[in-house]
Symmetry: C2
Subunit: 501 residues, 2 copies
């Protein structure tokens, strides 16, 4: 670190970190680099084959004292970064839920970065706040949400980073509303509800908000309900809590669970929760996007009964990370829980109460102009293309489902709802579960190590299964066909080898 | 919304949201649009002159059913978005703390978006995790942090979105550690400490984490200490809490407060806190960046005594939003508080404990490949240029300070430390405070309404003052000179008018 204090002379007047013509030149180079990456993305192994620590070994221990050229850095991206990347945008990516993207969203993101508007309150960048209000209402219309969730009505929406943020903010709003009635010293009596299929981040958000771990309920949701939460079971759990002198607070309903895309029965669950004054949040991070198609909209039936809903366009609406849309019926409760009012942010529009200050709808103060991305997606493609994009993914998943059904060595484990197929290799029905798990683990490892596709697994109801999630933006039918061929090849290899039998 | 169900035919096989050649063409257009915006940025009024609701009135109530062209959308950006933008990157922006940017960071952000790697755990994109570990160690070296904060030592760093996230995560780690000793039912006894100059988001984070509002202490920090927290006062408050049977938990020390860039005496405060086993967090969001220069590093003296430190390169290290670096001495405590382990994310490297899974260091699960931005900044400019950039801002602030001192109608209100000058118009010493406040409010309104610069205000120690924050990336000496000229002109106008006297 001696270099920090060295005598190398730098003429500060010459250092211009944002010279428009230099920017223009280098950004054009970067555009070509990225377009070429997208063009050649199929040539990379999907899952990075790097070993832990590979990068640290290649890079110097300290930052350089003198500047390095853009060309050197780009070469290092090729040489050192790309080998360590798991290519989420590869058409052969079928893991987790794919993170969908589009040219329009990329352009929107460039604009967002360009302005670097910090929209903590209205005045700090009126367009950032107002465009967000507009696109949140647009998306609400596309989902046929009631006006009670729109700025055009009595509610409103906000773009959060992730589902975790959405849950944390609404949970704290609910918590504070209830504590006002029961007293802050009763925080230890507040109980929250989800199923054992609810996303792990829900439990984490509850713990962050000071809900006692012992008061976080996971209602079992097994294969008998296709991994959906049972309203009858929920009511029993709530009744038991009430009988124990506890205070039911918050319910998280999932439309499209992460393991198997199970859909909790929203309307019936909300009916139960409403009987007890419990805040109902709907986590539709993945499944919600499909509800812009009339044939899927029924999964949101009863949405007028809930308090808040979140949905992540970065999952299925072509938006790049990170973009989670949250709608609430009573923005006032959110603002009451999250508002700050330091002197240095005071201004006339905020004080006249005529504007929305989004810093009071989220955890942090600073926020980017994220609405641009969604605005460009919605306008560039239109509702028609977005619906057809959802349908195309579902059609490909159906095709894969057909492949699985057509091969007697394989079986579907959970009925397909959206574009995820949960299946397993089960060549000898009646096999010992431990054997099946081992066999499928080996199959997964085999296909992923080829680099020819990337899938992941889950366990639900005690069953180990493989998840084939269609939805990467560049995926076409040929990739699904090739993936199935590779999976079958893996099965052939395994079943031929002694180890597996 | 009837259009949703209309019969307009869309051929889904033709919809390619990420065609590489279409991407190339449109992204090149966008690069030129942005380069031109940067070239012409001075022609826009800095502070948007839009009225509340201006944008909603211009845009349709619902998203279009059919696609619109990129050209149409870009025209709307010009026509409808830009008039509602407060131009944070304008060289005439002197409000809040400027959000600094650079070509290198823009390119890094483009790459981050390009890959759209979701780095929740190591395996999901090894390069994303490992590059973040490397750049966090690089920056730690630049700040001369002890090895106890580095991966090269026993600690480590992570890129969060905002300071709020950094505080929330460390606070919850501290909370859980203490609750393990005193029992979860004693959450109501936990007390947290800051000064009345600590950022408002600190109180918000404490409330989010379930700290009782009555247990959030704001130690008064007045003009006698230049708005820095007093270690003596802190000890008294802690002793009183202990005497009342409460449990001191967490202290937030600020290096560069938002109001006046006051620097809390880190070492002495940490000494006090350590006597009581209180977790010490240093919020150096703004001031920390200056500490890469040897002449400012002493503001971090005593850093080896604290538990965590956060600093936002988006404020002063040319990184664009959002980028907040958090270092912790005991990553294990963070992971213990924030880890999740759902089956569908299980993988061999994570289970072998040989890798970092950053989802366990933050609120959310998903995360972008943010390290690329910082990596490009550090390499493209080198430590030398980054130091000279800090010094150049400080030099311009000193110049403005000189202007203020040279005009007997004005006065400095707080000694300048970094690149913020707190001053006020005070033409008749001994004036009634209410008159001075009104006069300065009018001056602020006058200059901001010209569009020729944007400044903000604060109140500290009961004094209303104007904040002139130098640091927008494009600002050069000529802009500071012009700003001072405009401020003087405003004073002339006001002092000539009857209203003001």
């Amino acid at each position: 670190m001696g270099s920090l204090d060295s005598n190398f002379s730098v003429n500060s007047t010459e250092f211009k970190p944002l010279d428009p013509e230099e920017f223009r030149k280098q950004a054009h180079t970067m555009v070509d680099f990225i377009a070429d990456y997208y063009k050649n993305i199929e040539t990379y192994p999907v899952l990075s084959q790097a070993q832990p620590g590979y990068l640290r070994a290649r890079l110097p221990e300290t930052a350089p004292y003198r500047p390095e050229t853009f060309e050197t850095i780009l070469q290092d991206v090729e040489k050192s970064i790309i080998p360590g990347i798991t290519h989420w945008l590869s058409p052969k990516f079928f893991a987790f839920f794919p993170a969908t993207v589009s040219t329009a969203a990329f352009l929107g993101e460039m604009l967002c970065t360009c302005f670097n508007s910090v929209g903590f309150n209205w005045l700090a960048s009126p367009a950032a706040t107002e465009l967000e209000m507009v696109v949140m209402d647009w998306l609400a219309h596309m989902l046929k949400l009631p006006k009670s969730f729109m700025f055009q009505g009595t509610g409103g929406g906000v773009i959060q980073g992730t589902t975790s943020d959405s849950i944390l903010c609404t949970l704290v709003a609910a918590r504070n509303r209830t504590l006002e009635n029961v007293g802050v010293d009763n925080i230890g009596k507040l109980v929250v509800y989800g199923s054992d299929q609810t996303h792990s981040t829900y439990t984490k958000a509850c713990k962050l908000a000071g809900i006692y771990p012992r008061n976080i309920r996971s209602v079992p949701a097994g294969s008998d309900t296709c991994f959906a939460m049972s309203p009858v079971a929920l009511r029993k759990v709530i009744d038991a809590d009430l009988a124990a002198g506890l205070v039911p607070l918050y319910l998280c309903v999932t439309v499209g669970t992460t393991s198997t895309t199970a859909v909790d029965p929203l309307e019936d669950l909300a009916d139960v929760a409403n009987d007890y004054g419990v805040w109902v949040h709907v986590d539709a991070a993945y499944g919600g996007s499909a509800c812009i198609c009339p044939e899927f909209r029924h999964y949101l039936d009863g949405i007028e009964l809930v308090d808040s809903l979140s949905l992540s366009p970065h999952k299925w609406l072509l938006s790049y990370l990170d973009c989670c849309c949250l709608w609430v019926k009573q923005p006032g409760l959110l603002v009451k829980a999250l508002s700050t009012n330091p002197e240095y942010l005071r201004n006339k529009p905020s004080e006249s109460d005529s504007v929305v200050d989004y810093k009071d709808w989220q955890v942090g103060t600073g926020r980017r102009f994220k609405a641009l991305r969604l605005w460009l997606v919605l306008r560039s493609y239109g509702i028609a293309n977005l619906q057809s994009h959802i349908r195309s993914d579902v059609r490909m998943a159906k095709m894969f489902e057909g492949f699985v059904k057509s091969d007697p060595r394989f079986e579907l484990v959970v009925p397909r709802i959206f574009s995820l197929v949960c299946f397993r290799l089960n060549p000898h029905p009646g096999s010992y579960p431990g054997y099946l798990e081992l066999l499928n683990k080996k199959l997964l490892e085999w296909v992923n190590s080829t680099g020819g596709l990337y899938m992941t697994h889950t366990v639900a109801g005690g069953l180990y299964m493989l998840r084939f999630a269609v939805g990467a933006t560049l995926t076409e039918e040929c990739h699904v066909v090739a993936a199935w061929k590779l999976i079958k090849e893996g099965a052939d290899v395994l079943l031929r080898s002694k180890d597996a039998t």
